[in-house]
C-alpha cells in the first residue's frame, strides 16, 4: 500500500507545480506570487513586508511539510501487523517548549519589521518642498468613484494626479461601504458613510493605474473600477483647469448612468432611457438622482441615489450632456 501512496503524492506535487509554473512563465509576469509592481513608496514598503514574511512562511512550510512527508514515508506500516505499537512516547516538555518559543521569535521578527516599515507606509509625508500634499477628495457611490480636486474640479471614475507629488486621498462614502484600492499605489481603505478615511500615494511614473472597489457594495460591485491617470505637472495643471471641467457631463454619463443604462442609454442592466422625457426635466431628474428608486422591492426596480452630495454644477453638466448627446426625444420612440 505505501509505495503507490508515495508515488501519488509525488505525481500530485509535480503536476501541480508544473501546471502553475507553466502558466506563470507563459504570461511572463510575477505570476501573482507577490503583490503587483509598486509605483509608490507606500506600496513598495508593503511589498517589502510581504517578502519579509514570505521568507519565514516558506521556511516553515518546507520544514513542516517536509517533516510530515518524511515521517509518512519512513514510518509507514510496511507489512507490520496492525496492532504493532510504536514507542509509547507521551511528550517531551523541552522539545515542546522549543517549538513554542521559535514561532514566538519568528513572529517577533515579523512584527518588528512591520513596526519599522509602518511609518513609511501609513504617515502622509509632509512634502514641504511641494507646498504640502495635494488633497483629492474621493466620494464612493453605488457604483462609481467621484474625485474632487482642490480647485473644485470634479471627475468621475478617473483620477488625475501629477507625477512625483504627494497626494493625500480623503475617502468618503455617500451610501454604503466601499473600499478605495489602487494596488500599485498602496493598500485598501474603506469608504464608510459617516466616517472619513485618508491614505496617500506619490506616483513615481507617469501612467495609468487601475483601481477597484474592494468592499462588496451591491449588484454592480464588479464594475466599480477606478483609474488613476498620473501625468506630468503641466499636463495635470491643464487638465484640472480646463479639460476636467469640460468633460464633467460626459464623465458623469459614462461613470454614473451608463453602467446600468448602456452607453447610448439603450438599456443594459437597467432599462433603456434614451427616449425618457425625464432626461430633459431638470427638477424631476434631480429628485430621482437624489432619492434613488426602490419601489416594489423587486430585484430590478432598484436604482441607487446616485446624486447624493452632488453640487449644482454637477447636475447642470449632466443635464446639458443628456440634452445634447443622449436624449433622442419621444419622436424617435418607435425607431
Amino acid at each position: 500500500m505505501p509505495p503507490p501512496v508515495r508515488r501519488k503524492i509525488l505525481v500530485l506535487v509535480l503536476a501541480l507545480g508544473a501546471a502553475l509554473a507553466l502558466v506563470a512563465v507563459a504570461y511572463g509576469d510575477n505570476g501573482g506570487f507577490t503583490p503587483p509592481d509598486a509605483k509608490s513608496r507606500n506600496a513598495d514598503r508593503i511589498n517589502d513586508s510581504y517578502l519579509w514574511i514570505s521568507i519565514f512562511a516558506v521556511a516553515i512550510l518546507v520544514i513542516v511539510e517536509g517533516a510530515l512527508v518524511w515521517f509518512i514515508i519512513k514510518y509507514r506500516r510496511r507489512g507490520r501487523p496492525r496492532n504493532a505499537e510504536g514507542p509509547q512516547v507521551h511528550g517531551a516538555t523541552r522539545l515542546e517548549l522549543i517549538w513554542t518559543a521559535i514561532p514566538v521569535l519568528i513572529l517577533g521578527a515579523v512584527a518588528a519589521f512591520i513596526f519599522y516599515k509602518l511609518p513609511g507606509i501609513q504617515d502622509i509625508p509632509s512634502a514641504k518642498a511641494q507646498g504640502g500634499p495635494l488633497t483629492i477628495r474621493v466620494d464612493a457611490h453605488q457604483f462609481y468613484w467621484q474625485f474632487t480636486y482642490p480647485n473644485g474640479t470634479i471627475s468621475i471614475d478617473e483620477m488625475h494626479a501629477p507625477v512625483n507629488r504627494v497626494v493625500r486621498v480623503e475617502i468618503h462614502s455617500q451610501d454604503v461601504d466601499h473600499s478605495w484600492w489602487v494596488p500599485q499605489l498602496g493598500g485598501k481603505f474603506d469608504a464608510i458613510p459617516g466616517k472619513t478615511n485618508e491614505t496617500w500615494f506619490q506616483a513615481e511614473e507617469v501612467g495609468s493605474y487601475k483601481g477597484k472597489c474592494g468592499e462588496f457594495c451591491g449588484v454592480l460591485h464588479a464594475e466599480m473600477q477606478a483609474r488613476v491617470v498620473v501625468q506630468s505637472k503641466d499636463a495635470y495643471d491643464t487638465w484640472v483647469q480646463t479639460e476636467g471641467p469640460q468633460n464633467l457631463g460626459r464623465g458623469e454619463w459614462i461613470g454614473v448612468c451608463a453602467k446600468c443604462h448602456g452607453l447610448a442609454g439603450r438599456g443594459g442592466y437597467g432599462p433603456a432611457i434614451f427616449n425618457n422625457g425625464l432626461l430633459v426635466q431638470p427638477d424631476a431628474l434631480r429628485s430621482l438622482l437624489l432619492a434613488g428608486q426602490n419601489t416594489s422591492g423587486g430585484k430590478d426596480e432598484y436604482m441607487p441615489p446616485v446624486g447624493l452630495g452632488w453640487t449644482d454644477r454637477q447636475f447642470r453638466s449632466l443635464e446639458q450632456y443628456l440634452e445634447t448627446a443622449i436624449y433622442k426625444g419621444a419622436a424617435q420612440n418607435g425607431g
Binding site: 501573482g32 512550510l61 510504536g86 512584527a111 512591520i114 454604503v176 472597489c213
Partner: protein, 546 residues
C-alpha cells in the same frame, strides 16, 4: 431479552413508527445522526452553489448566471456553509460521540437537545426558502454589512428572512452549547478526570464555551439590523446618527471566534485519529489540551483583524495584529505535536488517517497565509481579494472539512454499524485533495494580481483568466470526489461489512460498546485510569491471557 426490554423507556405505539420514532426521538445518538445527515444535505446544496459560481467565473465576461443571482449564491453559500453545515455538523458528531466518549447514558438535557435540532432544521429551511421572497434571497454577503443590508439598499424580504433564519440557528447553537457544557462537566464516567477526557471532548468543551459567549453578540447585531429594517430604528444608519462600523464590531466579535468554533472540533478529531493510526499516544496531551483553551481565549481578542481597512486607530490595528500573531503559537504547537505523534509510529493509511494527514498538510498553508493577513499593512493589499478567499478555504475547507471526513470515516462504523468502503474512500480523498489544491492555490495568486472577491465577473484575460479556469477545473474534480462519498454511503448502507465494536483498535470509550450502540449506550463501564481506557483494557486482556 426480558431484562433488555425492561430497561427500554416506555413509548406509546405512535412513537414507534419508522418516521415518528425519529421525529419524537430524544436519544442523543439519533439526534446526532439527524444533525449529521441534515448538515451533509445543506453541504451538498451550498456546494452546488459554489460550483455554479465557479462555472460563472471560468471565463471572463461570462453570463452564465445573472449578477443578482451570483450575489445571492455567494451570500447563501457562505451563510449555509458556516451556519448550516459545519457548526451543526460538529454539533451532530459531538451529540453522537460526547456521551459515548465520557461514558454517559445520554446528554444532560435530552429534550433540549431535540429542540436545538429542530430549531436548526427550521432555521435552515427558512434560509433556503428565502429565495422565494420578494426580491429573492439576501444579496449582501454572508456578513451582511449595513448600510448595504439596510432596507433602502436591500429591498425585499430576503434579508429579513436571512436574519430570522440566523436567529433560529443561533438559539439552536446556544442551547446546544449549554447542553454540551453541562454534559461534559457533570456526566463523566468514574475515574474520567479532566486530564483523561478525549481531546475531541476538550475541543467540544471550548467549541461550546465559545458558542455560549459569542452567539448572543451576533444575535444582538442581527436584531438591531432587523429593527432598522422593519421598525425604523437607525442603529447602523449614519445619516440618522447611527454607526455602520458598530455592526462590524458586533459581527466580527462573533465572526472570528466562529472560525475557531469551526476548526477546534476538527483539530480534536485529528488529535483522536492520528494517535490511533500511528499506534502511539498523542504527543503532549496537555500541550494540545491547553493550546485548545488558549486558542479559545485568544480567539475573542482578534476580531478586528477583519477590519484593518476600516480605518481604526493605529493602536487598535497594532493590538489586533499582535493578538492575531499570538494565536498562531498554540496553533503551531498542535501541528508540531501531531507530526511528532507520527514519529516512529506504525502508520496505517486507512481513509480516516489520510484525511487527518491531509488536514495537517493543507491547514499549515492556511495558517501561514494567515500571518500575511495579520500584518495589517500587507492586509491592506490583500484583504477582500481572492487571497482571503483562498486563505479561508484552506482553513475552513482544508481544515474543517478534511476534519469532517476524517471523523466520518473514523466514526461511521460506530454510528451505523457498517464499514465504509476503503477503496472508494481513498479515491475520494485523492480526488478531493487534488481538486481542493487546484481550486484554492491559484486563488492566492488571483488575489495578489488584484482580483477582488464577490465579483460576478472579470474582464481580464491572460493570467487572471488562466488561474480562474484552473480553479474551476479543480472545483469540478473536488465535486467528483465528494460525489464518491454519496456513492460510498449508498453502496455500504445495506451490503457493507458489519462493524465490530472496535474496528480501528481505538483508545477511547466509545469503542467499548457495540456498533451501533444500544439506546442505553453501555451495559457497564470499565473504571477509567488513563486517557486511553480501551488500550488499557486490551493490555489487561493480553496480560490475563499470557
Amino acid at each position: 431479552m426480558a431484562v433488555r426490554a425492561s430497561v427500554e423507556p416506555y413509548r406509546p405505539d405512535w412513537r414507534q413508527g419508522r418516521v415518528s420514532s425519529w421525529i419524537t426521538t430524544v436519544d442523543h445518538k439519533r439526534i446526532g445522526i439527524l444533525y449529521t445527515v441534515t448538515a451533509l444535505v445543506f453541504f451538498a446544496v451550498a456546494g452546488i452553489f459554489a460550483l455554479l459560481m465557479r462555472a460563472q467565473l471560468a471565463t471572463p465576461d461570462q453570463t452564465f448566471i445573472t449578477k443578482n443571482s451570483y450575489n445571492e449564491l455567494f451570500t447563501i453559500h457562505g451563510t449555509a456553509m458556516i451556519f448550516l453545515f459545519i457548526v451543526p455538523l460538529w454539533a451532530g458528531l459531538a451529540n453522537f460521540l460526547l456521551p459515548l466518549m465520557i461514558g454517559a447514558r445520554d446528554m444532560a438535557f435530552p429534550r433540549l437537545n431535540a429542540l436545538s435540532y429542530w430549531l436548526y432544521l427550521f432555521g435552515g429551511i427558512t434560509l433556503f426558502l428565502s429565495f422565494l421572497a420578494s426580491g429573492g434571497a439576501s444579496k449582501s454577503g454572508w456578513y451582511g454589512y449595513p448600510p448595504l443590508s439596510e432596507n433602502f439598499f436591500s429591498p425585499g424580504n430576503g434579508q429579513d428572512l436571512w436574519i430570522l433564519s440566523l436567529h433560529l440557528v443561533a438559539i439552536s447553537s446556544f442551547i446546544g452549547a449549554i447542553n454540551f457544557l453541562c454534559t461534559i462537566h457533570n456526566m463523566r464516567a468514574p475515574g474520567m478526570s479532566w486530564m483523561r477526557i478525549p481531546l475531541f471532548v476538550w475541543a467540544v468543551e471550548i467549541y461550546a464555551a465559545l458558542l455560549l459567549i459569542v452567539m448572543p453578540v451576533i444575535t444582538v447585531g442581527l436584531t438591531f439590523l432587523l429593527l432598522d429594517r422593519q421598525v425604523g430604528t437607525h442603529f447602523f444608519i449614519p445619516d440618522e446618527g447611527g454607526n455602520a462600523v458598530l455592526y462590524q464590531h458586533l459581527f466580527w466579535f462573533f465572526g472570528h471566534p466562529e472560525v475557531y468554533i469551526i476548526i477546534l472540533p476538527a483539530m480534536g478529531v485529528i488529535s483522536e485519529v492520528i494517535p490511533v493510526f500511528s499506534r502511539k499516544p498523542i504527543f503532549g496531551y496537555k500541550a494540545i489540551a491547553f493550546s485548545t483553551v488558549a486558542i479559545g481565549f485568544y480567539s475573542m481578542l482578534v476580531w478586528a483583524h477583519h477590519m484593518f481597512s476600516v480605518g481604526l486607530p493605529n493602536f487598535l490595528n497594532i493590538f489586533f495584529m499582535l493578538s492575531s500573531m499570538v494565536i498562531a503559537v498554540p496553533t503551531g504547537v498542535k501541528i508540531f505535536n501531531w507530526i511528532a505523534t507520527t514519529w516512529r509510529g506504525n502508520l496505517i493509511f486507512d481513509t480516516a488517517m489520510l484525511w487527518a494527514l491531509g488536514f495537517i498538510a493543507v491547514f499549515t498553508i492556511g495558517g501561514l497565509s494567515g500571518i500575511f493577513l495579520a500584518a495589517f499593512p500587507v492586509d491592506w493589499q490583500v484583504t477582500d481579494t481572492y487571497y482571503v478567499v483562498a486563505h479561508m478555504h484552506y482553513v475552513l475547507f482544508g481544515g474543517a472539512v478534511f476534519g469532517v471526513f476524517a471523523a466520518l470515516f473514523y466514526w461511521w462504523p460506530k454510528m451505523f454499524g457498517r464499514m465504509l468502503d476503503e477503496r472508494l474512500g481513498k479515491t475520494q480523498f485523492w480526488l478531493v485533495f487534488l481538486g481542493f489544491n487546484l481550486t484554492f492555490l491559484p486563488q492566492h495568486m488571483l488575489g495578489l494580481l488584484g482580483m477582488p472577491r464577490r465579483n460576478y465577473t472579470y474582464h481580464e484575460h491572460g493570467l487572471i483568466y488562466a488561474y480562474n479556469l484552473i480553479s474551476t477545473i479543480g472545483a469540478g474534480i473536488m465535486a467528483l470526489g465528494l460525489m464518491l462519498f454519496l456513492f460510498n454511503i449508498i453502496k455500504t448502507t445495506r451490503t457493507g461489512p458489519r462493524a465490530v465494536n472496535d474496528p480501528w483498535l481505538g483508545d477511547t470509550l466509545e469503542w467499548y460498546t457495540t456498533s451501533p450502540p444500544p439506546p442505553h449506550n453501555f451495559d457497564r463501564l470499565p473504571y477509567i485510569t488513563s486517557a486511553r481506557p480501551l488500550r488499557d483494557l486490551r493490555r489487561r486482556i493480553e496480560e490475563v491471557r499470557a
